[in-house]
Symmetry: C2
């Protein structure tokens, strides 16, 4: 900050969407372009200008790359315009009484170096800068509260419950598994590589874990790991995994529906054929959106900061350095290339 004067015009690289996407996105659907930003807010406005330090790569962004005829749950990105998502930023100019220059915040910002936020009131100030700031893109940010709300509020766990987590080493899955262990549950995770499976067992303390790509018969695998069945399935992937899980739920089981990444790039997903199991086993399957839980963010933050400081929760990030690598990092999510929470470091000062 010391290097730029207030109001100065500075270079501003940005990641834009080039075109709407059908099927798997590619790096070429995005473009890193050069522009400029002015480090000042419009006179009389309550805007802030943010210098973006870290931005998060999240699977739900894929949905925003599709052109929807009827509005989706989040607005579509617009070709030619900058991508936006949760990130960690420093305020470098402010017209808002609650935000001052130098404040660290997290919220929805641009995939660019500097972003003008006309109305910053949805941003959270960062209360614990003694922890890595990048954590506020994940375990202390949107993905952390997603895991917490989905597991506790939707999953309604009890001690001793049998819990299955898919995409278990990912941003949300690793937190869910550890919250389940802290609750006294038996936890099994699935992931897409032996490295990730090892991480689940050694770093995150899952009771068991398996590489779903090595299982010919997911139903059989689940029967092996859950001979008594599954009480809670934390759903991140959809597809054949969900269908196999449905055959293995226990009576009165719960399925918090967080995401279905395996289906996001399919125009016609294969679908699920075993929904009758919801009736036969009286299972509750329930979607949720983290946006509905932001009112509980401070409660969540204090709990999670406590777990992190007491080393009761471990956290693994996959950080790429530099905005120009952001498109590849985002694409990598859909191929399972990331190990842990995927994020992009844009600047460190």
């Amino acid at each position: 900050m010391a290097s730029v004067a207030h109001g100065e015009e500075v270079p501003n690289r940005r990641v834009i969407l080039k075109r709407y996407v059908t099927g798997f996105p590619t790096e070429d659907d995005m473009e890193v372009v050069s522009g400029t930003a002015r480090l000042a807010v419009p006179p009389g406005s309550a805007a802030v200008v943010l210098k973006n330090l870290y931005v998060s790569c999240d699977p739900y962004m894929r949905n925003r790359m599709t052109k929807h005829e009827t509005p989706s749950y989040v607005p579509d990105f617009v070709p030619g315009e900058v991508l936006v998502n949760f990130g960690v930023s420093r305020v470098v100019a402010s017209g808002h009484p609650d935000f001052k220059v130098g404040d660290l915040v997290w919220g929805i910002t641009g995939w660019e170096e500097y972003t003008l936020i006309p109305n910053p009131e949805s941003f959270f100030k960062i209360n614990h800068p003694e922890l890595p700031l990048s954590y506020y893109t994940g375990v202390l940010g949107m993905t952390g509260i997603t895991a917490w709300a989905g597991f506790f509020d939707v999953g309604k766990p009890k001690k001793g419950d049998y819990v299955f987590v898919s995409a278990a080493s990912g941003a949300v899955g690793q937190i869910v598994g550890q919250l389940a262990k802290l609750t006294g549950c038996y936890v099994v995770g699935s992931a897409g590589s032996d490295q990730k499976v090892s991480l689940l067992k050694t770093k995150f303390g899952f009771d068991e874990a398996f590489n779903y790509k090595k299982e010919q018969d997911l139903n059989g695998a689940l029967k092996r790991y859950f001979p008594h069945g599954i009480d809670i399935y934390f759903e991140n992937v959809g597809g054949p995994t969900l269908d196999a899980v449905l055959l293995n739920m226990r009576n009165h089981g719960r399925i918090p529906m967080c995401g279905m990444i395996s289906e996001y790039n399919q125009e016609q997903p294969e679908g699920q054929r075993n929904l009758f199991q919801l009736v036969a086993k009286r299972v509750r399957m329930e979607g949720f959106m983290v946006f509905d839980y932001f009112g509980q963010y401070r409660k969540f933050e204090e709990e999670m900061v406590g777990h992190l400081k007491e080393r009761k929760i471990a956290y693994v990030e996959d950080v790429v350095e530099g905005l120009e690598k952001a498109p590849a990092a985002l694409i990598g999510l859909f191929y399972g290339r990331n190990v842990g929470k995927q994020l992009v470091a844009i600047a460190t000062e």
Copy 2:
């Protein structure tokens, strides 16, 4: 009763399962055979002998005709043995202190003229014989409490909710729709014939109804009837209807899963492709079993008897006379031949 002495051996026709079924069942999968019954209970036992007056035909019976490798939620029928289901009966012999000869009861009995029930404690005595006894196979029996529990406990309706009911003129659907109207909801039903659609609008007071067989585009039809979307979908059919409904749910909608009759005869149902909508709209989809609500039966019974006596709820039955017609009546459910609640009158005395 006057005509048979205690302990007498009498002819007893029965409907047996001839073989396990795959795909659509046929009349030939069942057989009406002759046997005998003794109108006495074993000395010292707490059994009762029932004379069966009415038995109910219910879609879930299809599940019991399949041989399951792992146990289903209800036991499989056994080839060569009598079918069983909910019915209305009169006690003609009793060793149980709570049941005396002449008592009218409902519960799970045989598809036969007389049934020995070794342990009758799961039977309910009929409190309101001033209403048609056959009602205890339906609106005052298992299907009534199914509708009541599923709509109120699982569906959690609020006044003004938009409610969609499939198989809406059937045993459960007609009750659900009318309970929804009594709750102040806007109710649309689908059914498989113009006659049924007419019944929904004229007899049961649905706001709108449509013949799903005449709709090329179920999604379009639902958008027409629910321009603001659906708050509660009471699920009776599964298949493409459920998939289309998923595209039309409102935020925080509920889908009580009662049954999926369109899929019961399919070895490989087509399945549902739109489950991501549960996430996007924060929808809860929840299976339930009426067995879990039998503890609340007396509460339900008094409410429903009140509605019936005040003519706030209309009820349409499809009664076939004679046990020999029971197999065809059961099969008819899967072709939508019944208009209203399907049951079999075995005896009237």
